[in-house]
Point group: C2
Chain length 385, copies 2
């Protein structure tokens, strides 16, 4: 009777997906080349193989009733073939084709009347010309393909670009082409998780704000609801839902948005899978992003997305000076604070900036959450074992 | 670095213990004779063997840093041997020695000044004489040993007893002896989960009330907080904590209490493990009973036990007319109701009254919870597959 979900990828998102399905005994099988990946800690059904390997993807399909992916960098053609044979692939492979190419993604938004920052797509050949005719202000230069976690994205002035160009810098040699994009001005970065059922009903979660460290300018933590006004938060949800609906596909999506101080909202990009900015939903909402994806995959009704309490999430990343085996120092001190949930991804070794886990903090209001967060940030340290 | 928890028993409590430890990657190994038990669905480290088998328990011990049990009917002598060799067994085997014998348990309460209903312990030889001198009112007759889930417990009038006695009924032939106990009068049945750390600090959870069906007189559902006054709820927590502290052992305990309409509270019995009445804590509190037990076993600080929302739990049991493979009918209709969490224990076949799973319902107040509960009870049905 019970259906099996096939997952491309066995990272922490796969592990958390499994954990959310375990109470109702959902069956999973996942494809992942590393045998000691996070998902392997909880799920015994693994096909060992590369996410680009069409044969392995077929094998996965033969063992699953429905297929999803927890990472975008997979063999889309293989998924399309399976879809054409009648297999249920969620989200649809077409979504991947669009979002794997940042240029196509931007065009998709402008074609669908979805607010996004001005841009121009170009090849490596006409890049120089396009930059020259760009307004005289810093811009964002993105590789159309292959970027991940900020890689392949540069913020440049025209002068900086000229220097790179005259030195024939490797970063300007991508055969896949580029997007030149306007920079958001003093924008708040917000993410909205949107869930779309197989019947194409959709619901959104309360916006989550990425809070940046003013000194390092790196993302420090995530907080939900965002600290924007209710009106703007609502607008973010409306735009996020419209964006996702334009893809006409079931699935769970994270929509990253820029909100400028004047209240203008722009779609940056989407991720067609559970997202960092939705980790907190495990503890803070009635239906976590993972349970929601399970419901979608099993063609069950969508769950309630209401936020029960204010929440914050902070990544636990490998510090610069530690590599190899590690432990969390003073974990006990952290666990003494009520409403703190530590998730570890089962990675046996750390390296600088490696995502090892995250923690979520619940509280009655934003102040309570931030107070606890500052406490945990001071205490929790990754040390060499 | 990371410790391994050894668990005697691989039932649903073991499965839920594992599920609560999975986000922080706790290692488990469990002993259970059935290879397709609930825990085996999530934990790949099983020793196949009987819970009475001393050698298998030693094997478990050799693979674990700390031992616990999710069922009382285990080989206590083997656990005591291991404890004497310096192994950490939580709760202490002495607790099991006391609670495995209902007569000893009752004596323990009276010796420790813990309120419990009047009783007398007797052998099968002097049972008749003791019943004759008992006040002329219905009483509870319990086998001192081996009872489970209501088995070995009878409510009798003196006349009913005489009939059984004159027919030399099998139920009066236990070599382990009996407890004759006064019946609680129109009592509300309440359970309080108490957690004791390795440093013997203790915390209690909000009382949970067992609500009985007035027609069948069988337990219908559990609700937390109980519908008693705050004052009585507090008293229940105080008495439960005192009861557990008397055992001088770390562990997680459920204390079952009778509350009479005059406000008198009596301890019925304790279970030294996660309990049915604590299932709701998975969704309703900051720290579930399972996470709490993990913290105790790993010598971490106790977690916050506050109830975040009102909650109810109802067992999903095999109906009388269905055996073999089964499915949940109209699960989709249930999943449409917000704040409903269905847990299934992975039992492939049903039989009449078999516990197949449970569901927990969250709501802002008791009325909201009970309203949803009535809805789910009407919808959810187990059918033959």
């Amino acid at each position: 009777m019970s259906k099996t979900i096939g997952v491309l990828g066995g990272g922490q998102l796969g592990k958390m997906l499994f954990e959310s399905g375990s109470p109702s005994n959902i069956n999973y099988v996942f494809l992942e080349k590393s045998v000691d990946c996070p998902a392997a800690l909880v799920c015994r059904h693994q096909i060992v193989g590369d996410l680009k390997d069409g044969d392995k993807i077929k094998q996965l399909s033969s063992r699953a009733d429905v297929i999803t992916y927890e990472i975008e960098h997979v063999n889309v053609a293989a998924l399309k073939d399976l879809e054409n044979e009648g297999k249920s692939i969620i989200p649809k492979p077409d979504v991947l084709s669009i979002i794997q190419d940042k240029g196509l993604q931007k065009e998709f938004y402008s074609n669908h009347d979805i607010p996004t920052l001005s841009f121009v797509n170009c090849t490596k050949e006409n890049l120089h010309k396009e930059v020259e005719s760009w307004p005289d202000e810093p811009f964002v230069l993105k590789h159309r393909k292959g970027g991940y976690d900020g890689k392949g994205v540069q913020i440049l002035t025209k002068n900086q670009f000229k220097e790179l160009h005259s030195s024939a810098d490797q970063s300007l040699m991508s055969a896949d082409g580029y997007v030149i994009e306007k920079m958001a001005k003093n924008a708040v970065e917000v993410s909205v998780i949107v869930a779309v059922s197989q019947k194409l009903n959709s619901v959104s979660y309360t916006p989550c704000e990425m809070v940046f460290d003013p000194r390092s300018n790196l993302m420090d933590y995530l907080i939900s609801p965002s600290r924007l006004s209710d009106k703007i938060n609502n607008l973010c949800e409306v735009i996020a839902q419209k964006t996702v609906e334009a893809f006409c596909s079931p699935g769970l999506f994270a929509v990253e948005l820029f909100v400028e101080p004047n209240g203008k909202v722009f779609v940056n990009e989407i991720a067609p899978r559970p997202h960092n900015s939705g980790h907190h939903t495990i503890e803070s909402t009635y239906t976590s992003q993972y349970e929601q994806l399970n419901r979608i995959l099993l063609n069950q009704p969508l769950g309630d997305t209401s936020l029960i309490q204010h929440a914050a999430t902070c990544n636990i990343v490998g510090p610069k000076n530690v590599t190899g085996r590690y432990y969390i120092d003073k974990l006990d001190k952290v666990l003494e604070i009520p409403g703190v949930y530590v998730h570890m991804y089962g990675k046996s070794e750390t390296s600088p900036n490696r995502k090892l886990g995250h923690y979520t903090i619940l509280g009655k209001n934003q102040e309570a959450v931030e107070k606890k967060l500052m406490k945990v940030k001071k205490i929790l340290t990754i040390k060499s074992a």
